[in-house]
Amino acid sequence: MNAAAPIPATGTRPVRLVYFAWVRERVGMADETLDVPADLATVADLVRWLKARGENYQAAFANEAVVRAALDQVHAKPDSPLGNAREIAFFPPMTGG
């Protein structure tokens, strides 16, 4: 009898993350490409995962309700499904115009 097949590693996929304004300053970079667990379902799930990565993310997302997100350059909400978004942005409420 063979040993049980190893539990397959949870799938990941590369995602480009971009940050703006004070979210960028708190994260400490303008963009990065991370291998993100494929089973993260929503924007809020991704935020939780990022916060577990370090204090810089915790600072950026200290008040999650304030930070806005965009999936492939389209505004999204915390419960928006990540789908196959390749570029995910986080930023404060907009102050243009």
């Binding site: 703006f20 304004a21 965009a70 350059q73 389209v74 505004h75 942005a89 907009m94 243009g96 115009g97």
Partner: protein, 152 residues
């Protein structure tokens, strides 16, 4: 009618945009324009620094413009938004709406500005006249309320 959208560091000319829009045609009855300018905040501001999300800025303003074009019978629609360092008295944003009648032009320009404020990915930070770097400008609940009017 294809909206003209530009995101640029350089200044713009309202007159040039109106001239381009109206050139060779005589079916426009009304042109409404909005220019947003950098205020000096009673002398305390040296400049505004405008950060933006390249790509999404064009795309998002394009979506807002498409909504305006679907809601009002427009002959022309222009939106230009600058980024970078902008000094007091300088222009930041231009919206131009042309139509046969004034109501469509007024409402479309007003709508565009309300949505630009709340949806276009731009962020302002202050550079103070005393040489210090001010904070990021906070979004106003007023602006969300203004945009919300159009859903009534």
């Amino acid at each position: 009618m294809t909206p003209l959208i530009r995101i640029q560091r350089e200044d713009f000319s309202l007159q040039d945009e109106i001239d381009a829009l109206a050139a060779g045609r005589a079916d426009i009855g009304a042109v409404v324009s909005f220019i947003g300018l950098c205020r000096d905040e009673a002398g305390t501001l040296a400049a505004l620094e405008l950060e933006h999300y390249p790509g999404m800025a064009e795309a998002e303003i394009g979506r807002v413009a498409a909504e305006a074009a679907a809601r009002w019978p427009l002959i022309g629609l222009v939106a230009i938004h600058r980024y970078g360092l902008i000094r007091p008295g300088e222009q930041i944003v231009l919206v131009l709406a042309a139509s046969v009648h004034r109501r469509a032009a007024f409402e479309a320009a007003d709508f565009m500005m309300d949505y630009l404020k709340t949806r276009a990915p731009f962020w302002k930070r202050e550079h103070r006249a005393d040489g210090t770097l001010g904070g990021w400008v906070e979004a106003k609940a007023d602006d969300d309320d203004a945009a919300e009017r159009w859903n009534r």
